[in-house]
């Protein structure tokens, strides 16, 4: 990855109710998809993102808003820090987690009977 490419910023947080990682999108909504994130390229734009993060945190929509540096590459937005790449994409070892069921396919089982 070219270290000389300029970086941009996106705003991330976790949804309060379920903890899912989200990014502020161009409509001002919180999306689970990094590719949809609104990109800030100037200090003023970054400040606007930070203000929006603080505002939505105080409105109890999200927790721990933070600015994430990204590079805009031909394959999309890529976070600069490795940690943020893992955070955006999910654990790198999910294929090896025994019994892992991705959320869309999870079956709901009824409330446990008292044994």
């Amino acid at each position: 990855m070219s270290k000389s490419a300029p970086t941009a910023s996106v705003l991330t947080a976790n949804r309060l109710g379920d903890g899912v990682v989200v990014f502020l999108d161009f409509q001002g909504a919180w999306s689970e998809v990094l590719a949809a994130a609104a990109v800030a390229r100037t200090p003023d734009e970054v400040r606007a993102l930070q203000d929006r993060g603080a505002h939505d945190a105080s409105r109890n929509l999200v927790v721990e808003p933070a600015i994430v540096e990204v590079r805009e590459t031909t394959s999309g937005l890529v976070p600069v820090r490795y940690r943020e790449r893992v955070r955006a994409a999910g654990p790198t070892i999910l294929a090896d987690v025994p019994g892992y069921v991705a959320p869309e396919t999870r079956e709901r089982t009824p409330h446990a009977e008292a044994a």
């Binding site: 976790n14 903890g19 721990e64 025994p98 959320p103 089982t109």
Partner: protein
């Protein structure tokens, strides 16, 4: 094992109701995140890299089949079908929703489980020897762990300590509870005509690893709670709160000196030792009665080790230990499949373990601090059925204590505190060393993804610490640590390695050990003690 009485059951019910109220007030905004965070931590709710994480308490690592099945149900219904057993004998779920957690806690309360004080600056899960009640010991440490658990639950004075507080208890001369790297470590011993404790204070890992100091060698069992209360009070009054990395009791003991610390505790303890906290003998016996041995089958056993199944034979050698009761064995269930994720279990595997425990282990399972499970009471002639059942569930790896029985924290794949991933390192090492693991013999490899040392890397025979170097993952290698009664802190070898390099580095260390060991009976740790670090550093860093 302990059974809740009405008091205990009502306590947990009320705590669930209280937490439900706290969650609702957070969702409505009546509580800010800053106000809510310590409260949710006191109920084991973290915010991790991808989601919330719920840490469920398994007191002194003991549970029955009904409880294990409930954990499997929660994994299926509220999480993503899987859970992780930790180095403090707890269970973690990585994907619960905050809005669901009160319901999860309610379902746990139905089977006498909870998530109380599994995080936060309070007294955490009291851990104990995972072979308690089955191995040779002075006495079962778990009744004392249970007494401490109760006394420490929502303790009004000690719920906002300078930092977290971890207690471990052992009753055996072989320390399987790592007591010397705990804030308080307790070793049961005979005292006069009865029982007492050697009390160690101020051990811990993390940024400044320190072995605990023996602060009182002879504490009568009746004085257990009053002495602990004195220790906690001195800590709560004088522990540092200005710097998160200097806030553990180990720093206080280090800064004022063990003797001065012991004197302060002694002064306060003498004042309160005859207060209500003095444990009546009848109460100790009452709690001990819950941990009485099960109704063992006392018929003589038939040993007929059929040597035709090499894997079974190896599994018996590595994963079963002598039980104090003739005719029985202690069985270790490895949660370390070759190339797998240490400590993880699927809901189906949890159910399988529950079935096996109910049928073959007097309905009891243990969680070890090495991220494995234990069936404490298995009749010797049932070993083959148990092995077959475990094998069907992919839980029959015969690698207990071997190089592929690796401890790894969740690391950067899950944890918001981590600097590097630990799980893939564990997987690659496991794959690399599997073919030679029996030849290598006992070797405890422990991997942490950050300085907080949840992987216990400071006390690994081989320890690995993940750090961040110029935005990339980097790993330090440490050698010669031990969590057992010969406690020692591992020493760093030199410059660190990248993700590929660290796997090669460990292999070089192993190669050098095999080359230089006196014989196959000399373990890595013994060889390291004899040879020192030099030959290993040379293998790692000398120009090829």
């Amino acid at each position: 094992m302990y059974r809740y009485d009405e008091f205990d059951a009502e306590f947990v019910r009320q705590r669930v109701a209280q937490f439900r109220d706290q969650v609702n007030r957070r969702l409505s905004g009546e509580l800010s995140e800053d106000e809510f965070k310590p409260l949710r931590l006191m109920n084991g709710v973290y915010l991790q890299l991808h989601a919330y994480m719920l840490r469920i308490a398994i007191p002194y690592g003991t549970l029955n089949s009904r409880q294990m099945r409930r954990l499997a149900h929660i994994a299926r219904h509220y999480d993503r079908g899987t859970g992780h057993f930790t180095t403090r004998q707890n269970l973690q779920f990585n994907w619960p929703k905050l809005v669901d957690i009160p319901d999860i806690l309610e379902e746990l309360a139905e089977v006498e489980m909870h998530a109380i004080q599994t995080s936060g600056n309070c007294i955490r899960n009291v851990t104990a020897d995972h072979f308690a009640g089955a191995a040779d010991e002075v006495a079962d440490p778990r009744p004392y762990a249970e007494i401490i658990r109760q006394w420490s639950s929502l303790h009004p004075e000690f719920s906002f300590l300078p930092r977290k507080f971890k207690v471990a208890v052992t009753g055996a001369s072989r320390d399987r509870a790592a007591i010397q790297v705990h804030d308080i470590g307790l070793r049961l011993k005979r005292l006069g005509g009865g029982l007492g404790f050697a009390v160690y204070v101020g051990g811990g890992q993390g940024r400044t690893p320190i072995l605990a100091k023996l602060v009182r060698d002879n504490l009568p069992e009746a004085d257990l709670l009053s002495y602990l209360e004195a220790v906690l009070r001195i800590y709560n009054l004088h522990g540092r709160r200005d710097n998160k990395y200097k806030a553990r009791i180990k720093i206080l003991v280090h800064e004022i000196g063990a003797a001065a610390f012991a004197a302060q505790v002694e002064e306060e303890w003498q004042r309160i030792r005859d207060s209500v906290l003095k444990l009546p003998e009848a109460e100790i016996r009452r709690i001990q009665a819950y941990f009485a041995p099960p109704a063992f089958d006392t018929r003589p056993h038939k040993t007929s080790l059929d040597a035709s199944d090499r894997d079974f034979e190896r599994w018996v050698t590595r994963n079963t230990c002598t039980h104090r009761q003739p005719g029985y064995a202690i069985v270790t269930i490895s949660l370390k499949p070759i190339g797998g994720i240490p400590g993880d279990a699927s809901a189906a595997q949890m159910d399988a373990v529950a079935d096996i425990a109910e049928r073959y282990s007097h309905d009891e399972v243990r969680v070890s601090h090495e991220q494995n499970l234990v069936l404490p009471h298995v009749r010797i002639e049932h070993r083959r059925e148990v092995y077959a059942a475990l094998k069907a569930a992919r839980l029959a790896e015969g690698n207990a204590g071997l190089a592929t029985d690796i401890i790894a924290c969740p690391g950067l794949d899950y944890c918001a505190l981590a600097n590097a991933r630990s799980i893939p390192i564990a997987q690659r090492l496991s794959e690399r060393l599997a073919a030679r693991q029996h030849e290598i013999g006992e070797l405890k490899i422990k991997i942490s993804g950050c300085i907080n040392a949840c992987g216990h890397h400071h006390v690994g025979h081989i320890g690995i610490l993940g750090v961040e170097k110029r935005g990339e993952e980097h790993y330090q290698l440490l050698l010669g640590g031990s969590a057992a009664e010969d406690s020692a802190l591992a020493a760093i070898t030199g410059p660190g390695f990248g993700p590929e390099g660290i796997v090669d580095a460990v292999e070089k260390v192993v190669d050098r050990y095999l080359e230089l060991r006196a014989d196959a009976a000399e373990t890595f740790l013994a060889a390291y003690a004899r040879l020192g670090a030099a030959p290993f550093k040379e293998a790692l860093y000398a120009a090829a």
